[in-house]
Structures are given as C-alpha cells and as structure tokens.
C-alpha cells in the first residue's frame, strides 16, 4: 500500500511537472484485433507529423505535441468508445487521429466524441455511411469513401467493355458498404448486377456460394472480400468450376497472396486500391525511413496527413478548442493557398503566422470534399504475366 501511494505520488509529480505548453493528441487505432498488423505503421505516421511540428518550435508559441495511443480494437465498438472516452477525459487530448474501422469509428464518434465536442480525423474508415452521418462538423477522414471507390471501379469495368457482373462481398460493414454502393453506381451507368450476395469468412466450404454466383451469371465476378479470408475461397471455387474467367478485385483482394496463390489463373483480371503517388508521397517515404519505420504500410501516409491537418487547423484558428478549430480543417486542406508537402509543416506554420492561406497537400494529395473526406486517388491494377501491374492512377 505504502509503495503504491509513493508510486502514485511520484506519477502525479511527473505529470504536473511536464511542460505547461504541452498539447496532447490521441491516436485511437486497432492495436489489437484483426488489423493489428497495420496499426503500428499508422501510429508511427501520425507521430512523425507530431514530432515534426514539435521540432519546428513554431506551433502555438513553441508548444510541444505529445501523442497518446489508445486501442480501438477495430471490431469492438464498446472498447473503442471506452478508449476515446479515456483519451478525452483522463488524458485531456485536444484532437484524435482515429478510429480505424468503420463500425467502431461510427460508435465512438456518436457515443463519445460528439457529445464531448471532440474532433476525430480517421485515416482509414471508408464506409459510405460515414459521409452522411450528422457529425456537427467534428468528423473528417483522409481516406476516400468506398462510394468513391465504387465509382472508380464502375469506370474501370465499363472501360473493359463489361456490362454485366455478379458481386459477392464479405459479410461485414466494409464488404456490404462497398458492394451496395458499387451496385448503385454500376446500375446508374447502365450496367447490370446479376446477383449481390454475401459470403462469410472462415467457412469450411464455399460451393453453395459459387453455385449461386455461377447460375446468376455475368461477364465478370466482383469479389469485395479479403484475399487471406473467404475471398480466396470464392475465387478458388469459381476458377475450379469454370464459373467465371474475369475477376474484379477491390482493395481487400489486392495483395501478395493473390499473385502467389492464383497468379497464372487470373491473368487479365483487374481491380483498384486507394493509393497515391507523386512528390508528397516520396517525401513522406523518405521521412519515414529516416524515422525508422516503413512508410509504405497501408494508411500510414493517411495517418500522417490526419495528424498534420489537426495541428494546422489549430494553428490557423489559433486555438486548441475542437469546436473552434474544426471550422478551419477544410480551409487548410483545400486551395487556395501555398501547397504544403510532408516535411514542410514548419513552413506552413510560418505562413499561417504571417496570415497567408495554405493548401495542405501532404503525403496523399489531400483534397477534402463533401462532408470532409478525401477525394482520393486510386491505383488501377491488372494481372499480367502472373504479376499485379499498375496500369495508372486515377
């Protein structure tokens, strides 16, 4: 007991003795759970931006920015809400980079962040449902909505001269959101979706699903699933029974396992994934390498941009109050103004201090549209000679 008291007293002392001008930002990502392998690179990305701003010494009169990590678990909405609650009330963060997955993000936003008036910028929640959510202007995302991916996918399919497809999706928020918005987009352009049906991940047998898809027919099969889960089972079944010859792969299916397990059999199939290129991305990758982590990790660059946007909006409104700086997020992200790339956050702070406009481009060519989400660039891929090849960016 005595030891415990002493320990807590010591803790309280160090906490009180920290810099007076220390601004905390929360990072709420799924450090445990199904996407635990992606989270570290994302958190590193966000912390890179914070370190850069702190090092510049130009933020809010020389304040430092400290990250506080919290585990959103990706699948457990209650745990994610508790994490965000703790970040806000116990740690006193002024803004949150997160959440990670669509369902958990919606829950923590509605249950905690909105009642408490906290800004959340998610690097990776892509469900179309988040676009129309009434969020009091507190929620933004640096990743594109799957509704946007659906439009891009529709264009790519139509350009291949295909007008009729069958769709199967993994039975969760991501799969269903993508499949439904794709069906809407595809039919709006005059295409036909012969069947739109779910498959569950981790099931022992997929012959029933493949049989239904084959009977419905179509010129191609869109698999909105995961390449290391049920998506592979469906693909295997469809290839073996000769049900389909051309496949369309959205982001969850584009991965090394696709080349490895199916390479020669899916030649001529195509797909797309959110990804960017250009000077901003290269600068981010170089900075990430210098900081000692892999910047090519999925959504790592988006996390950098999310953290940078929060801090630039704070600087632009000269306030750390979320209800004040939320108005400035769209301003700093979009034109007009001087374009800002990764590594130039110090320069951006100078410009803001001088009263000039900035247009934050960041690592992923940020352009916030609609209710505050990235327009997004997509990498169109095609399987050629057993390898996934980039056709172009769009």
């Amino acid at each position: 007991m005595k030891k415990l008291l002493m320990a807590s007293a010591a803790l309280a002392l160090t906490a009180g003795g920290a810099f007076a001008e220390d601004i905390k930002l929360g990072i709420s990502l799924g450090f445990t759970g199904p996407l635990e392998s992606m989270s570290p690179a994302m958190a590193d990305g966000a912390e890179l931006a914070m370190a850069e701003v702190t090092a510049s010494g130009k933020f809010m009169g020389g304040a430092s920015v400290t990250p506080v990590r919290g585990d959103s678990t990706c699948i457990d909405s209650a745990a994610a809400s508790a994490t965000v609650e703790k970040l806000i009330t116990a740690d006193g963060v002024k803004g949150i980079v997160g959440g990670m997955c669509s369902g958990e993000t919606t829950a923590s936003l509605q249950n905690v962040a909105m009642p408490k008036g906290m800004v959340m910028i998610s690097p990776s929640a892509t469900s179309p449902a988040l676009s129309t959510l009434d969020d009091n202007g507190l929620f933004f995302r640096t990743s594109p909505s799957d509704a946007r991916q659906s439009e891009v996918m529709t264009d790519i399919i139509m350009e291949h001269g295909i007008n009729s497809v069958a769709v199967t999706y993994t039975n969760n928020d991501y799969g269903k959101g993508l499949a439904d918005s794709f069906q809407a987009a595809f039919e709006a352009k005059g295409g036909t979706v012969t069947i739109n049906t779910a498959h569950d991940d981790g099931k022992p047998d997929y012959s029933a699903e493949v049989a239904a898809l084959a009977s419905a027919g179509g010129d191609a099969l869109v698999i909105a699933g995961y390449v290391d889960q049920g998506g592979s089972g469906i693909l295997r079944g469809a290839l073996d029974t000769g049900a389909f010859e051309t496949f369309v792969f959205p982001d969850g299916m584009v991965g090394g396992a696709l080349e490895e397990n199916f390479g020669p059999e899916v030649n001529g199939s195509f797909g797309q994934m959110p990804s960017s290129e250009g000077e901003g991305k290269e600068k981010f990758l170089a900075a990430a390498e210098a900081a000692g982590f892999d910047g090519t990790g999925v959504y790592s660059a988006e996390a950098y941009d999310a953290a940078a946007l929060i801090m630039l909006a704070m600087a632009a409104s000269n306030s750390t109050d979320p209800n004040v700086y939320k108005e400035k997020v769209m301003d700093v992200a979009n034109a007009p103004g001087t374009p800002i790339l990764p590594g130039e956050l110090g320069k951006a702070l100078d410009l803001i201090a001088a009263g000039e406009e900035i247009d934050y481009q960041g690592a992923t060519s940020v352009e916030l549209i609609g209710a505050g989400e990235s327009a997004g660039t997509f990498r169109e891929i095609e399987v050629k000679d057993d390898k996934i090849e980039t056709v172009r960016y769009r």
Binding site: G202, A208, S215, D228, D240, G242
Partner: protein, 335 residues
C-alpha cells in the same frame, strides 16, 4: 429444351462439390459416432483432432518432398498419411491415458466427459497452432484436375463447363475404401465384434470376458485414423487452415445426429444429407430453368434461400429430424 446443358450445370455446381463435401463430412461424422457409441460421450475435440492429424501429415509431406519422394500424379500427402495416422493415434492414446481414463474410472456422467473433451479441444487447438501456425497452407501436389472446365468445353462443345478435381475423386475413393474396411472390421473380426458388444451392453460385455482397455484403445486408434484421413482429404481438396477445422465441427455433429448418433451407417447418410441440403437448397435454378424452358428468362434467380442461410438449412433439418425421429434417421441412440 437443352437437357444436356441443364444436367451438366447441376452436375458441376451441385452434385460434384456436394458429393465430395458429403464424403468429408461423413468420415468426420463416423469418428464422432464411433466415440459416442463405444465410449459414450460427444467428443468435441474431434474437429481439432482432424486439424492436428492433418498438421502432422503436412509436416511429413514436406519431409517426403524434401527427400524428393513423390507419388506421381497423386498427392504426396497420401504417402504421408499412414505416418500422420500413427502419430495422431499415439497422441490421442496419450490424451486418453492422461485425461479420459480417470473419468471412466470414476464412472463420470457422459455430460462431464463431454465438457472434459471441450477442454481437450482447446489444448489441441493451441498445440496445432504451435505446431504448424495459423496460416492457410496448400499442400496438394500432383495432377490438379481429372477433367478441367476448359478441356471439357473444348472436347464436348457444350456451353456449360464441367470440372472434377482429382482431390474430389480421391476423396470419394478413399472414403469408400475406409468405410468398407471399417464395416468389415466391425462385422467380421473378433475385436470388432467385442467393440460392438461393449457398445450394446458394457456390463454384459465385461462379464463375457472382453478386455475393456483393449476396446477403448482400438476405438481411439480408429477414431484418430478416421479424423486424420477426413482432415487430410478436406485439406487436400480445399486448403489447410487450423480455424476451418473448428468450424467444420458443427456440420459434422449435425451429420452424426441426423443419421443417428452411434450408428455408422447413419453417420455416412447424415454427411451426405447435410452437404446436399447446404448446396442444393441455396442453389439458384435460373440457369437450369433457362435451359429447360427455352426463351424464358426468369426475373429472379429462382433461389429458395439466400446462401447466407446455408447453415440454417442444416440445423433446420436437424431439428425436424429430432422432432419426428429423436434417434435419428438410422436408429442411433437418443441424445
């Protein structure tokens, strides 16, 4: 009317896959039913015994491949199978010695032993993952297809493809051989007869001088063999993933109960009933209907139930059977 194409469509998407899947379930259900009939408890660890046995078989397969041994057009795993069975049998006998023997000695109620088997299931679950990992492993080599979809189309000139994987054929042939051997063993050999006697009436069997330890040991060895064969055939046909075997436990139990727990013939029938109902009830008949009635394009898919409900189908059948024939289709023991 295009009967031939309609027939090929049903054959390719319903009959061939459902038959192979049914044979895999039947082998699994045979093991469950054997344990239930003779040792008198529902062995929940059976799915993970399958995973464990398959994992060992894969390790031996890799060893054989590294030594440059192959089985011609057949998968190398078939050569590794006897080793996998032997090792799994040893492991299962060890489990019986360490865990189950005590509960038999104190004559614990079957429901306690069932709960004990859940514990064993979790331990085996972990062991399998330590042994071979959680990733998906494909270990089928040799010829992949007996008839591939593209070949069939070019040879016959039909619009509908037909594919038969060699693993599907191997599954059926092996399952047939195993079932024949098991029935011969139970009906003709002295040990088999004593097992049946022990199953019918334990006390009478003991009075007539049957050694219970031998019966228990042989039962475990046969169950381990059935589990390893079923698991390896399933893994060859689809792929090996430890988690999938745990999922396989549900349809296997459904098959064993529908057929009648404790009745080997029922386990086989149950396996096919469950597999066919999963695939056929959720099949979309649109294409077949279009071949049968020319010029008619149905609006919908002519699908009785969406594929999400395929598990519900097997459990609905289970409930109906239990309501009207509580002992299952083939007169097993009532649960």
């Amino acid at each position: 009317m295009d009967l031939l194409n309609a027939f090929i469509a049903v054959l390719n998407y319903v009959i061939v896959p459902a038959t192979a899947y049914g044979a895999q379930l039947a082998l699994g259900a045979l093991g469950v039913t054997l344990i239930y009939g003779i040792l008198r408890f529902s062995n929940f660890a059976h799915g993970d015994t399958m995973a464990f046995g398959t994992g060992l078989t894969i390790l031996v397969t890799w060893g054989l491949q590294a030594m440059g041994i192959s089985f011609g057009p057949l998968p190398t795993a078939l050569l590794a199978l006897p080793f996998g069975i032997a090792l799994t049998a040893l492991f299962v006998l060890g489990t019986d010695r360490v865990v189950y023997r005590y509960y038999r000695k104190v004559r614990a109620a079957p429901v306690y032993i069932t709960m004990v088997s859940v514990g064993v299931m979790f331990v085996m679950n972990g062991l399998t993952r330590v042994l071979i990992g959680v990733d998906e492993i494909r270990f089928a080599d040799g010829e992949r297809f007996l008839i591939s979809a593209r070949e069939f189309k070019t040879i016959t000139g039909l619009a509908e493809p037909l594919a038969i994987r060699s693993t599907q054929a191997i599954t059926l042939v092996t399952a047939g051989l195993v079932v024949w051997a098991l029935f011969w063993f139970l009906a003709k050999t002295r040990t088999g007869k004593s097992m049946r006697a022990y199953s019918d009436n334990e006390d009478l069997a003991l009075l007539s001088g049957i050694d219970p330890n031998k019966v228990v040991m042989v039962t475990w060895i046969i169950a381990a063999a059935l589990a390893t064969i079923a698991g390896t055939l399933y893994g060859l046909d689809k792929s090996f993933k430890a988690f999938n075997y745990f999922q396989l436990l549900l349809p296997i139990f459904a098959a064993a109960i529908v057929g009648g727990l404790g009745n080997p013939l029922g386990a086989i029938a149950g396996g096919f009933v469950i597999a066919y109902s999963e695939v056929a009830v959720t099949y979309a008949w649109k294409k077949v209907a279009m071949y049968l009635v020319p010029g008619w394009e149905p609006e919908g898919l002519l699908q009785l139930l969406s594929t999400e409900y395929k598990f519900a189908v097997s459990f609905a059948i289970l409930i109906i059977v239990l309501l009207f024939k509580p002992t299952g289709l083939f007169k097993g023991k009532s649960v």
